[in-house]
Amino acid sequence: MTQHVSPPRGSTDKAAPVEGPPAWRVRLGRADVRTLTLLGVLAALVLIGGITQPDAFLDTRNLQLVLTQASVIGIVTVGVTFVIISGGIDLSVGAIVALSSVWATTVATQEYGFAGILFTAIVVGVGCGLVNGLLISFGGMVPFIATLAMLASARGLALQITDGRTQVVTVPSVLDLAERDSYVLGIPPLVLVFAAVTVVGWLVLNRTTFGRRTVAVGGNAEAARLAGIDVRRQRLYLYLLSGLCCGIAAFLLVALAGSGQNTNGNLYELDAIAAAIIGGTLLTGGRGHILGSVLGVLIFTTITNIFALNNLQSDVQQIAKGAIIVAAVLVQRRTASTH
């Protein structure tokens, strides 16, 4: 996979060479073009859904459904986007979600009710993220290998805890989170959390030192180190952040599915990475967009929804997903700046 690597942001954007990008793109800015493209794809999907299934698709309940189904994987994707921007990768997110959800739903944990389940899910997520971060930052392991090891061991531990059994949640207040009665002004609580994580993620990436450091580390780790950034500590924090997102997502999944199972979070890592890529985050690091990732998740979830409403089987769906990933990357290569 050859990717165009752009220098870290803050380089001379204004000094466009003679063979520079066309004037309309300079005015709009690269990020806006991408966001508009993604919004265009989403609008096209909404059109397709509306034409094929006007009653079922264009319906408040369906909007609530699509957003709810996007929430869990969406929160995971926000964390993964940060990691990818820093030039790393986190393959263990699905397994961490599984481990967090089964640990949070054991009989012992459920005795402590809502708080116990929430606390456990978050702590397990952060704990796994901490292990990933330590292995990568201070153990000198390659992120791919370290998180692959975490994928295997977290899934294994989840299986050991559950013995393969489905752990049904018996705490009503947790289950209520995903029930219609608890919607706030028609918005499901899960979607509210997803929105909050998205906004916070966007602010942290674009408006804080932490965000700028993340981009710098991904753009050129050596330059970042020379500029006085503690690269190792920064990376540790990023995997912690990814683990935290997994913990939050696991808690919401427990509420939604009403149980903990070692198969939870199956293949989240691939869905999250795919959403980040079509959202315009470079796998090589140094550039990324939270909003793009979230739009990517919404695009995939909407595709799933349209296919299900039209009673089409999932194999075709996978092909459509693949095609969209390829198309998105090709479009980005075309619109990528050539300075």
Binding site: A178, T263, N266, L309, N310, N311
Partner: protein
């Protein structure tokens, strides 16, 4: 050929004689009986009385879901019932190479009979053949080997029958409804067993021209996928009369989605026979009214067959001198009326 003729002749004779015996009310148990004896009376059938000691080697996959856990439990508990049975149980594994190694260890230990539930039936055929060639008969449990030479007896579930029985149950319930609509929540679509279940379901529904299957979506046998797919199905189908869900594990998620959507205008039939499904059927407070079994007790039956085989006996209750070469377990429909009877077989 002579063997065949003689066996057929014997059977014929046996049938005729036993009919006569019943008519005459003959209940003689004299083992040295002559021609007027029923074959069934001289048949060496396994019963509950201790017989010749048998060592059974048991190799299963890693118990990564409730049904497999139940299978392992059933096998162990059944073996404990017989004082003369010694069990050699391997650590379950989903890794083909590892499972082959474990079974080869059992072959080297020279167990009398092997009971094998392969993680992947096709991939483990060779080790089944190896055991058979070494003179250790193999009872192949559920996931079938590629070659009939790799096992002496296959015991397993009836995927086609699950679909058939689910369709009949739903069909009878909706018999008087014109233009009834049914939906199907399948398991993993690229598995042969899922296709067999769907085929059985469709074939069963053909008996009821008033019923039409309006939607089918495949989940992944997991709670999470059950919730996600069911939520979409409920949104897609604003009105239907019944549904069949292939698997009670994903049914936990499906029931969640039904609850979240606030729907109760249809009847639901599950599949496999999880304890949670039995409890819901017994409580009769939701849409789930029945489930079609894929009974984990097949593993207990496999132990019974292995014991009979090891002792050179047939199955009690049948006239045959040997155990059968295939046993397909019936997929019973469990509903409110008979759920208590099956409760103990429900898996968590």
């Amino acid at each position: 050929m002579t063997k065949l003729t003689s066996r057929r002749g014997m059977l014929f004779g046996a049938a005729a004689v036993s009919a006569g015996a019943v008519l005459a009310g003959c209940t003689s148990n004299d083992p040295d009986g002559g021609d007027d004896k029923a074959a069934a009376d001289t048949q060496p059938a396994a019963d509950d009385k201790p017989g010749k000691p048998v060592t059974i080697g048991y190799a299963g996959p890693q118990a990564d879901h409730g049904w497999l856990n139940a299978v392992n439990d059933q096998a162990k508990k059944r073996a404990e019932k017989y004082s003369e049975i010694t069990m050699e149980i391997t650590e379950g594994s989903n890794d083909t190479a590892q499972q082959i190694g474990q079974i080869e260890t059992l072959i080297n230990k020279k167990v009398d009979v092997l009971v094998i539930l392969p993680a992947d039936g096709k991939a483990l055929t060779q080790v089944g053949l190896k055991a058979m060639r070494a003179g250790i008969p193999v009872i192949n449990l559920d996931r079938i080997f590629n070659s009939p030479q790799a096992y002496r007896c296959w015991v397993g579930g009836d995927n086609y029958g699950m679909g058939l029985n689910a369709a009949h149950y739903i069909g009878e319930k909706l018999k008087d409804k014109s233009d009834a609509k049914v939906i199907e929540l399948a398991g993993i679509d690229n598995l042969e067993l899922t296709q067999q279940r769907t085929q059985g379901f469709d074939d069963g529904l053909k008996n009821y021209p008033n019923i039409k299957k309006v939607a089918r979506q495949a989940a992944e046998f997991t709670v999470e996928s059950g919730q996600a797919k069911m939520a979409q199905l409920l949104q897609a189908q604003s009105d239907f009369d019944a549904m069949w869900n292939h698997d009670d594990d994903q049914g936990v998620g499906a029931l969640r989605a039904i609850e979240q959507a606030g729907r109760d205008d249809f009847l639901m039939v599950g599949g496999a026979g999880a304890l949670s499904a039995f409890q819901a059927i017994k409580a009769d407070s939701g849409v789930l009214k029945a489930t079609v079994l894929y009974p984990p007790t097949m593993a207990a039956s496999a132990i019974d067959l292995a014991r009979a085989l090891g002792q050179g006996k047939g199955v009690s209750g049948l006239a045959e001198f040997e155990i059968p070469s295939t046993v397909t377990c019936y997929s019973a429909v469990v509903d409110k009326d008979n759920v208590d009877q099956y409760m103990s077989t429900g898996f968590k």
